[in-house]
């Protein structure tokens, strides 16, 4: 006989107990909302200050050092220095462009589906590659 993974109904973690206790002490959910929202906020405030600070630090110090050691990367960045307004405009332009492209893409796909080797006429991977007289 081959072996098999034993599927059982036992062995599950006994959950829900801490939930019950919590629910008993905070039947309205207000405490949960207050604790949880303050944790969510503190996590993101933490990140906020870090990246506010990093941005400043970076502008002052790291950027220059970094520039020295990795000129190629800085070069790329130079290309990226486009104002936000421009970016917003570009983003919209791209959006429109996509809609057009989508149309084109569909056309291309239609052709490809007709032409590529993996559709109707050889649709199953275990199809023959050659038949004797063909």
């Amino acid at each position: 006989m081959l072996s098999t993974l034993l599927i059982v109904e036992a062995g599950e973690r006994v959950a829900g107990k801490s939930a019950e206790e919590f629910g008993k002490m905070d039947p309205t959910g207000i405490a949960m909302a207050m604790i949880a929202m303050s944790i969510v906020f503190s996590a993101l405030i933490f990140l906020y200050f870090t990246f506010k600070y990093i941005a400043k630090l970076y502008n002052i110090d790291l950027k220059k050092r970094f520039r020295k050691s990795r000129p190629d990367i800085e070069h790329t960045e130079a290309h990226e220095e486009i104002s936000g307004e421009t970016l917003a405009a570009i983003s919209l332009a791209l959006n429109l462009y996509h809609q057009q492209m989508q149309g084109l893409e569909d056309a291309v796909i239609t052709f490809k589906n007709a032409a590529k080797s993996y559709s109707p006429w050889s649709s199953k991977i275990y199809g023959l590659r050659k038949s004797p007289n063909n």
Partner: protein
Amino acid sequence: MDTSRNFWTFLSNHLFSFLGETAFMNFTMGHVVMIIIGLILIFLAIAKGFEPMLLIPIGFGILIGNIPFAGAEHILSDDPENLQIGIYQSGSVMNYLYFGVRYGVYPPLIFLGIGAMTDFSALISNPKLMLVGAAAQLGIFGAYAAALALGFSPSEAGAIGIIGGADGPTAIFVASKLAPELVGAIAVSAYSYMALVPVIQPPVMRLLTTKKERLIRMKPPRTVSKLEKILFPIIGMLFTCFIVPAAIPLLGMLFFGNLLKESTVTKRLADTAKGQMIDIITILIGLTVGASTQATTFLTAKSVGIFGLGACSFIVATFGGVMFVKIFNLFLKEGNKINPLIGNAGVSAVPASARVSQVIGLQYDKTNHLLMHAMGPNVAGVIGSAVAAGVLLSFLF
């Protein structure tokens, strides 16, 4: 002759017993309702273009899960009556594939792919928008409180609340831990309302804002360097997970995927993570979540309650995001103020809610493009709801 008679008796007996086992002989009103729901989801996906990547697998999964075959109640592995067809029958293919939903394996893998396709630049360039993403999580705890009031147990209320996070994988992950029997209803509800974001949010946004506020112009975001983009997933993971370790499975994967992308030296890994890997998981998670909505387990008062609470949570979340911006603006200098029309984008249905900001913004000023700014709270909402999920798990798991 006797034998021949026996033969025909045997034949007709077996044919009739087979007919008795067909779904035609076993279906109930519940199955009809569920099949219609499945067809509606597929229709919305194809005809309206609502979330097709998820609604088609879920919708077709609902069809598969509601073929009412005989013997579905025989689910144990050593039960000789277990025909290994249904999703709850051990040994069936669907049951093997459902493992990833039931034990929360798929959602973190989807977060890996999302990380690999998310660009956090908008957030890095204006990090205070992160707080808007935090504020919108109010929807989660609003729905939690409402669910408690409706008589759901605390575990169930936590699983239902997470719908307000507007994050399918997060909702499935939390539900699989806190209330596995509700995974189907919660997932279907979460995805349905995410599809309806452009319908739910605009009235709330208009109600809460003044005309003057809607015209606020924000400074163009600054350019973000490659170094900052690389540091973001590293620092982001360390800080958020240090504060909420229970969010490691989601946030660890999200930021890992993002580092694969931003490091640029692991482009092929990022491409696979956000390509074929997320596709495979998306197919499997959608199909099995859909199939888990078997009429017998799904069509209950609880499911109806969950759908009601889902709508409520999205409204509260939008309220939280917009109101937070209005209050925050009181502390900000003129010129730094945030347009409250991007507050809704804290509801992290990416990029749907950010697009709502853009559309409503243009209705009041045709040159005021809010899309770029709204992407900040939008991706912050992804982080925020994963943190909130961690908090729920810490207290309730």
